[in-house]
């Protein structure tokens, strides 16, 4: 490890000191409060809270819908990234810019807009209603909202890798007699795979914690369309701080695990493509 004393640049102590103090005050100490508070519950009590039937139903919905939304985004996000890199079409710059919309649009705005579209009298809802498909105020509505917020994660992790991909590999594959599908399947796809998985994991992680865009369209029917973050809100509204904290611990442990997985995936992407992240 090159030591910092070798550096002629000033400000190491000040900048690192400030970083650590600010990080501790804003993030680390408040987060620790969750774990300290939850330890005030006995294990049995903790277990009862986090395995209560309504809470378990919320895990099933949150994790199930998030996994499904991330999978759908992986497929369509890859296609969209491909279209943006490989094809030219009118309005391409606009589409490229608007892909980031879910990052920039406040979640509550997305939530009420999606609800207006998919409600039984909405633009989309009124055409689905006669087919017997109900989206708003059902788990399907949760899925729609989670697809909306997750899409840019996949497109924006795959797109730069696809742009950097040298065409000579595909040319080599073609000259060796591979058809277009074989070249994609055996040459392009393995290179994109780590990035695609990273985007998938990011979309999944974001979807599990998402609140604003979901609660309007979900309808929040107990045991049917209540997401896990809503369970925390419900407990807080009943002044059940210990219960809210217990569910928060479950969510935090899950997020941290996924964060580690994403870091691992990004390291893999960097190794596979020789790209610094």
């Amino acid at each position: 490890m090159a030591s910092r004393s070798n550096s002629v640049l000033p400000g190491f102590g000040l900048s690192l000191g400030y970083t650590l103090v600010y990080l501790s005050l804003i993030v680390l100490i408040p987060l620790a409060a969750v774990f300290v508070k939850s330890s005030s519950l006995g294990f049995e009590q903790f277990w009862n809270v986090v395995t209560a039937p309504t809470v378990v139903a919320s895990y099933k919905l949150s994790f199930g819908a998030s996994l499904l939304a991330a999978s759908i985004n992986a497929v369509f996000g890859l296609m969209l990234a491909w279209a943006l890199v490989r094809y030219s079409f009118p309005g391409k710059r606009l589409v490229d810019a608007l892909v980031d919309l879910p990052f920039a649009l406040p979640t509550a705005v997305a939530g009420i807009a999606l609800t207006a579209l998919y409600a039984p009298n909405g633009w989309v809802g009124q055409h689905l209603e006669p087919l017997g498909i109900k989206v708003a105020f059902t788990p399907l509505g949760v899925l729609v909202a989670l697809i909306f917020i997750g899409l840019p994660f996949v497109v924006r992790t795959v797109q730069p890798i696809l742009e950097d991909l040298d065409t000579e590999y595909e040319e080599a594959a073609a000259s060796l007699g591979a058809n277009r599908w074989q070249a994609f399947r055996h040459v392009v796809f393995p290179t994109l795979m780590p990035a695609l998985l990273t985007g998938f994991a990011m979309a999944f992680a974001r979807a599990v914690g998402e609140y604003g865009s979901v609660i309007f369209i979900a309808g929040n029917i107990p045991m049917v369309s209540e997401i896990t973050p809503l369970m925390i809100i419900t407990k807080l509204e009943q002044y059940d701080y210990a219960g809210a904290t217990a569910i928060a611990v479950v969510m935090l442990v899950f997020s941290f695990t996924l964060l580690l997985a994403i870091n691992g995936l990004q390291a893999w992407t960097a190794k596979r493509t020789g790209r610094e992240r």
Binding site: M1, R4, S7, P10, G11, F12, S15, L16, Y18, T19, Y22, L23, P30, A33, V34, F76, M79, L80, A83, Y87, S88, F89, V95, A97, L98, D100, L101, P102, A104, L105, P106, T107, V109, A116, W123, P152, F153, P160, T167, E170, E171, R180, G199, M202, A205, G209, E210, Y211, G212, P229, I232, I233, Y241, A248, L252, S255, F256, L259, N263, E276
Partner: protein
């Protein structure tokens, strides 16, 4: 969310000519039906899931005409929500800007043990659910929290008051500037700064005249993203706000209240201002990428 800002990194400014290059090359060209299927499916998906909600916001906002629209925006509760949103952003963005610069300086200009752990910690707020982000401050400053009794003895209100809203906003926007700056400053190395210092520049002079001009576009983009999130945050702020009309409602919370009261036109009117802010953010992003791309091309 982890790496959201990293994922937003300028994607290398692809020029218009590049995609035609793929299509001119037989080895990278798909059969026409494959091309049109991919284009058709992905663009319909884009239109249904991204474009339609955006259009819906504006259509619903103007459904009852200009007068209703304007009335919804200049009504006192809306104005106080706008004011509180601006206050929250005006405090949290500068705080996280200073932090982002300090963190990026220490991480990219020096070597020390635990650097990767530090970067992971900086990313943490991205991977925490907004609801949990609000909850942690309730546990620290709320009536039953660590400092609750002390705060109530001294008559200081944080939770269900403006300071709590600011704190929650600072938390959710924490990584944005740092996340933009770290990869940028890492890529630029420290040779220029070292040369400046060897030639006798002071630390601040080096930063203002050498580092800052090199990273200004990335910095601006980080600030814009940070601001967009600060003004639009819903979940975290909702937990600590207490929803007191005219006092602790930000614009997104005001949208929620109007919507739940079935005042749809008013809700969408306020929402359309936030949607406009999002569009401006995206426009600035495109502009910054263009400038950064042009600057990069000049250096090469």
């Amino acid at each position: 969310m982890s790496g959201a800002a990293a994922a937003l990194k300028p994607s290398g400014g692809h020029s218009a000519g590049r995609s035609t290059r793929y299509e001119a090359n037989a080895a990278t060209r798909e059969p026409a039906w494959v091309k049109w299927t991919i284009l058709g499916v992905s663009l319909v998906f884009f239109a249904v899931f991204l474009l339609m909600p955006l259009v819906a916001v504006f259509v619903e906002a103007f459904r009852k005409g200009w007068d209703t629209y304007l009335a919804a925006l200049i009504e006192p509760d809306a104005l106080s929500a706008i004011k509180l949103t601006l206050i929250a952003a005006l405090i949290s963005v500068p705080l996280n800007l200073v932090f982002g610069v300090a963190a990026a300086w220490s991480i990219t200009k020096f070597d020390f043990r635990g650097k990767h752990l530090l970067i992971t910690f900086i990313d943490l707020p991205f991977s925490v659910s907004p609801v949990v982000a609000g909850l942690i401050y309730v546990l620290v400053f709320g009536a039953q929290g660590w400092f609750g009794p002390w705060l109530s003895d001294h008559d200081v209100k944080i939770i269900f008051a403006v300071p709590g809203i600011v704190l929650a906003t600072v938390f959710v926007t924490f990584p944005f500037v740092a996340r933009e700056l770290i990869p940028l400053m890492e890529a630029q190395g420290k040779d220029e700064e070292e040369a400046a210092v060897v030639l006798g520049a002071r630390g601040w002079q080096t930063f203002w005249h050498v580092t800052l001009p090199n990273v200004k576009w990335g910095l601006l983009y980080g600030v814009i993203l940070c601001n967009a999130r600060a003004m639009g945050e819903f979940g975290a702020v909702s937990v600590v706000s207490g929803h007191i009309r005219g006092l602790t409602n930000t614009m997104p919370l005001h949208v929620e209240i109007l919507y739940n009261e079935y005042q749809f036109a008013a809700a969408f009117a306020v929402a359309s201002v936030l949607a406009l802010l999002a569009l401006v953010t995206l426009a600035v992003k495109v502009w910054v990428e263009k400038r950064a791309g042009a600057a990069g091309a000049r250096e090469e």
